[in-house]
């Protein structure tokens, strides 16, 4: 279990992602890019970023819904991401996810990834989750 009692995704941990902060509807992850995270051109693989973007919101949403109590399930149903920048091996990446709307059956959120050294946004995403609330 990570900070705030929210379990962190095994896959995210496996690739080296670290949960830095979890608040209501918010989560920040960090990852230091190494040679294992690169694509064929030697830049950070887009898959690393999409993994972190998805996880940050999954954790943020899990934390938010956890407070209302009860067993629950959630799954990403759609993700859109744009990649305005790139990162290299050695760069620290900070990813912040924020839940923007939590409705009866769906939730929406936004996440962005920055290069820590200069704050440059390298990826931004919008995600939709299917949520199932606990039944009494």
């Amino acid at each position: 279990m990570a900070e705030g009692g929210v379990p962190r995704a095994q896959f995210t941990a496996f690739i080296g992602g670290v949960v830095e902060e979890v608040r209501e509807g918010y989560c920040r992850l960090g990852l230091v890019a190494g040679p294992q995270h690169l694509d064929r051109d030697g830049a950070l693989h887009a898959g690393v970023l999409t993994t972190l973007l998805d996880s940050s919101l999954g954790i943020a949403l899990g934390g938010l819904r956890g407070r209302s109590g009860g067993p629950r399930s959630q799954a990403t149903i759609e993700m859109s991401a744009g990649f305005p920048g790139r990162a290299q091996s050695g760069d620290k990446i900070v990813v912040e996810g924020r839940v923007t709307h939590l409705l009866e059956t769906v939730a929406f959120g936004r996440a962005e990834a920055r290069r820590d050294r200069d704050g440059e946004v390298i990826a931004e995403a919008r995600l939709t989750f299917a949520v199932r609330h606990a039944r009494p």
Partner: protein, 140 residues
């Protein structure tokens, strides 16, 4: 299976002008003749027209899918994503083909291809809908 839709769609979709052509459960095909009021200043078709045509095509596919499911009381768009691949111009007949690729309890996802008169892919879209079922409605 080709059957006309029992209703003619919303006021908006009638205004845009997509015409239902054929369909089957989970499938719908519409066409649209591009007219002046569909175009941008440079004469190319406006992206919003394409998006609207896609929404109508999926509406037809969903209608065809749910007509035998009386518990479905309605559906509404949650999300759409469109790539505009090739332009179209006034006088072109565009065909939109929608296929439901996921039918869930509360969500449905459709793929839509918009084809140019020569059959080339003009646009590609994926649309997600929330499905309302009777049982769920009564819980509210």
């Amino acid at each position: 299976m080709t059957e006309p839709l029992p209703d003619k769609g919303s006021a908006w979709s009638r205004y845009v002008g997509g015409v239902y052509y054929e369909g089957s459960a989970g499938f719908g095909r519409l066409y649209l003749d591009v007219k002046e009021h569909h175009t941008n200043k440079d004469g190319s078709v406006h992206g919003g027209v394409i998006a609207s045509l896609m929404d109508s095509a999926v509406g037809a596919a969903l209608h065809n899918l749910f007509r035998d499911q009386p518990d479905v009381t309605g559906y509404s768009s949650v999300e759409m994503n469109v790539s505009f691949l090739r332009g179209a111009r006034m006088g072109d007949r565009l065909t939109a083909e929608a296929r439901i690729i996921k039918e869930g309890k509360t969500l449905a996802v459709a793929d839509v291809d918009v084809l140019s008169p020569s059959g080339e892919l003009a646009a590609k879209g994926r649309l997600t809908y929330c499905v309302f079922r009777g049982a769920r409605e009564s819980e509210r």
